[in-house]
């Protein structure tokens, strides 16, 4: 049987990808942002997940305004790297796990989540930056990846509660897959940032840390945070944090924190990162 053994959350700031690709991670500006991922890189080497379900959002790369799926799951064999306007990032293509992905898609639809199924798409920095932060710069990514894309660009995005519930349904889906697989789920995006308008540059260290605290233990209060609170407190792009709740929902009733990192700034954004383990009493 497949199991979700851990949850990882991380910002997916494009500039971190650029810093990694151009070997700038040792520079004074970038060093503290990258340092907080060293623990996780070593931990991932020991964990050796077979599959990562990677929750992220596309940034006008694979999806334009023609089609806006709220929840989309990548069921293809392979996902190429998007050219986001300056050439694709020099990172390996992403290998999917079609059997598990289709199993999850079917299970979610039967659980009343009306998923969009995607067989062919390229993935952008939202997905590849977390892979770089957790795995460094390998020739080939060490595991298979199931992309789960969430609309957090055009309003309304899904509610925090809906995201959490989707995570719960993903847990159930994974645990009904017959093959023995070590599966992790990653939530990406955030933390506080606003990339637009005169209020751009907003950072809320206190709120971000409240959110990190809320992911640990047996509280589910984060699922009830309304969109307006993310917007006011964490900037217009802070709404990406609803994607972390899909990860949290998939870890069950209670979690334990294995590692935590917070740094301001990377470009316009607060870097947040946490590694969680499900706790079964």
């Amino acid at each position: 049987m497949a199991h979700i053994t851990a949850g990882v959350a991380s910002s997916h700031i494009p500039a971190l990808g650029v810093a990694s690709d151009f070997n700038k991670s040792e520079e004074d500006y970038w060093k503290p942002a990258f340092a907080g991922y060293e623990w996780t890189k070593k931990w991932e080497e020991d964990q050796k997940p077979d599959v990562v379900i990677l929750v992220y959002n596309d940034h006008a790369s694979a999806f334009d305004m023609k089609i806006i799926p709220t929840f989309a799951i990548g069921c293809g064999e392979k996902f190429g790297i998007c050219d986001e306007g300056w050439g694709p990032r020099p990172v390996p293509d992403v290998e999917g796990h079609p059997d598990l992905a289709w199993h999850i898609a079917q299970s979610l639809i039967l659980d009343e989540f009306d998923m969009t199924i995607i067989n062919e798409m390229d993935v952008d920095h939202g997905l590849t930056v977390p892979l770089s932060m957790m795995f460094g710069k390998p020739e080939k990514w060490p595991c298979k990846v199931i992309p789960l894309a969430v609309n957090v660009v055009t309003y309304p995005p899904p509610s925090g509660n809906r995201c959490w519930a989707l995570g719960e349904a993903i847990k159930k889906a994974v645990e009904s897959f017959p093959e023995d697989l070590n599966v992790q789920i990653w939530g990406t995006g955030g933390m506080s940032h606003q990339l637009q308008g005169p209020r751009a540059g907003l950072i809320n260290r206190e709120w971000d840390n409240m959110f990190l605290d809320g992911l640990i233990g047996d509280s589910d209060k984060l699922r009830y945070i309304p969109h307006i609170e993310y917007l006011r407190e964490t900037g217009s792009e802070g709404i990406e944090m609803v994607m972390w709740l899909i990860m949290r929902g998939a870890l069950g009733k209670k979690t334990k924190c294995l590692h935590r990192h917070y740094h301001v700034p990377a470009s316009n954004t607060a870097v947040g990162h946490i590694v969680l383990e499900p706790v079964t009493d």
Partner: protein, 147 residues
């Protein structure tokens, strides 16, 4: 599953955030061709044609005159007002060779240097830029972060 959210109240709250244009369905509808134009700049051949004659390239798209002018002016706040979304507008400033920090700072009325210094010092505080109504109730005038 149903919730007790009132769609009108939900949307109205977005207008109460200082200096912020939430990308609502109304903006997405208004900005459809503007955003699709911007998306077209992902292709190198389109970027070349746009750079060679911006006006002629814009005229190929069913955009309003105001939208075309705002693109020519690279007035990003105005583009957001006219239905642009920041991730799509990023295709325009990336074509110009600007980073997010450089382009975003133009929307704040700050120089790039001042904006970057603010970020390094911990970013813009949410104090005083959470709610237009709350600021008015506190007797404040129109503060920075509002237009």
């Amino acid at each position: 599953m149903s919730t007790d959210i009132d769609i009108h109240e939900y949307l109205a709250e977005f207008d109460d955030i200082p200096g912020t244009r939430v990308y609502t369905a109304a903006r997405a509808r208004k900005g459809y061709h503007l955003n699709q134009f911007a998306m077209s700049l992902m292709k190198a051949e389109n970027r070349d044609r746009f750079k060679a004659d911006e006006r002629a390239y814009l005229d190929e798209w069913p955009m309003t005159e105001a939208q075309k002018q705002a693109v020519l002016d690279r007035d990003y706040n105005r583009l957001l007002d006219l239905g642009g979304n920041i991730y799509f507008m990023a295709k325009i400033f990336s074509s110009d060779g600007l980073s997010f920090v450089q382009a975003v700072s133009t929307m704040t009325g700050m120089s790039v240097e001042d904006y970057q210094a603010m970020m390094v010092a911990g970013g813009r505080s949410p104090e005083g830029v959470r709610s237009i109504k709350a600021n008015a109730a506190a007797g404040g005038t129109v503060e920075k972060g509002t237009r």
